[in-house]
């Protein structure tokens, strides 16, 4: 992940209702637009951790409990997280800023 990407700041864009349906999937309801999405549990966890204040991808991952990523996989992992955040942004659930 580039230096630019890792310095992006993310925050929650809307309030969501979630249905943790099991099987690693979560149905999310966007309270503002009424849209409904299916995301994986990890993404739903990210949504829960995010707040109205911006946080970088790095700090976001650091605040996920029980998450220990081996050092050699860290940059791949950060890229994975960044891609999830970009998808959530596309859905209107998170925003940059």
């Amino acid at each position: 992940m580039s230096a630019d990407e890792s310095s992006l700041s993310w925050k929650r864009a809307v309030e969501t209702q979630k249905y943790w349906s099991g099987d690693g999937l979560v149905v999310c309801y966007d309270e503002l637009t009424g849209d409904t999405h299916v995301v994986n549990e990890f993404a739903a966890n990210l949504l829960d951790i995010l707040s109205d204040e911006g946080v970088s991808t790095d700090n976001l991952c650091a605040s996920i409990p029980n998450l220990s990523v081996p050092e050699e996989q860290k940059s791949d992992f950060l890229e994975y997280v960044n891609n999830i955040l970009l998808d959530l942004c596309e859905y209107g659930l998170v925003e940059q800023g």
Partner: protein
């Protein structure tokens, strides 16, 4: 005048051409007017065992299906469906009149009744528990429902699953099953005691006929029933009939796609669908012939796992 105790042909014919035939279908009362003999004939064949509504002072849907235009006696003239005093659709030919009525009755449910979460699905029940089968294209849900109904399952609806908003229960809305083209013959040979209404030819779906669907003794029980299974059927020629689990999340989304008003209900829709899906065992059902399909359903454990 002796009290009317059933919907016999004479009563139906007379009501249709005067104040209207009041028909009680689950929680809904239709008031139907028509001057067409084929409509009287079809209703007499398919609805003779329906209960009389408790009152004729109020109907939910006032509909009429009549010849349109001034020259009412010309062969090949058109008929029109009206909802109260409006005409939501273009006319159809006389030969399609009975199908037009049944479709119009479906339409009444599809566009009103947001007091339920409505899913385009067949609903069948056994032992007081219901299965909701969303009708995606290629599902063959009507043919499957017809076969199950003829083998003793109670049909709650062929078209609309009316799910209560606050609990995962479905409200019965039993009406004739609509079958088209070769499905008509398939069901006739599946069970030759099956009772059909008038066939409509040359509809945009081909030939359409309706199957009397209230043969189960509880058919007209109005109580809502708990839903325990959500099954997505798919007819696949030559495939081995089987039932496989489906994730609740995917079932949620596919049921929402088949819903008439999931989006209209907003947040309430989300919660109602969540309540429904989490109360159900969700499955994909592949079948290639009715006998093996019915046999598999017979084996189903209807209580939630």
């Amino acid at each position: 005048m002796p009290p009317v105790t059933s919907l016999d042909a004479a009563y139906i014919k007379s009501s249709l051409s005067h104040a209207g035939l009041f028909l009680s279908v689950g929680p809904v009362v239709y008031q139907i007017k028509s001057n067409l003999p084929i409509v009287a004939e079809g209703l007499a064949k398919l609805y003779s065992d329906y209960p009389l509504p408790t009152t004729q002072e109020f109907s939910d849907h006032l509909i009429a299906i009549n010849r349109q235009g001034i020259l009412r006696n010309i062969v090949g003239s058109r008929v029109n469906f009206s909802y109260d005093h409006t005409h939501p659709f273009d006319g159809m030919t006389l030969g399609q009149a009975y199908a037009f009525l049944e479709w119009g009755m479906n339409w009444c449910i599809s566009v009103h009744h947001n007091e339920y979460l409505k899913i385009h699905a067949a609903v069948l029940a056994k032992n007081g528990k219901a299965i909701v089968m969303p009708g995606e294209p290629g599902a063959g849900k009507s043919t499957l429902s017809a076969a199950l109904m003829l083998k003793g399952w109670r049909l709650l609806s062929d078209e609309h699953a009316l799910i209560k908003l606050d609990e995962p229960k479905v409200v019965p809305l039993c009406r004739p099953v609509s079958l088209k083209n070769e499905s008509i013959e398939i069901i006739q040979s599946f069970d030759n005691s099956a009772v059909f209404g008038p066939a409509s030819l040359d509809t945009h779906k081909g030939r359409v006929a309706h199957l009397k669907a209230d043969i189960h003794p509880d058919s007209h029980d109005a109580n809502a029933i708990k839903v325990t299974r959500l099954i997505f059927p798919r007819f696949v020629p030559n495939a081995k009939t089987n039932l496989s689990p489906k994730t609740r999340a995917e079932s949620f989304m596919r049921a929402a796609e088949q819903s008439f008003n999931y989006s209209t209900l907003g947040q309430q829709g989300f919660f109602s669908m969540k309540g429904l899906v989490s109360a159900c065992e969700c499955s994909e059902f592949i079948y290639s012939d009715l006998d093996s399909a019915v046999a598999l359903f017979e084996q189903l454990d209807m209580v939630t796992a």
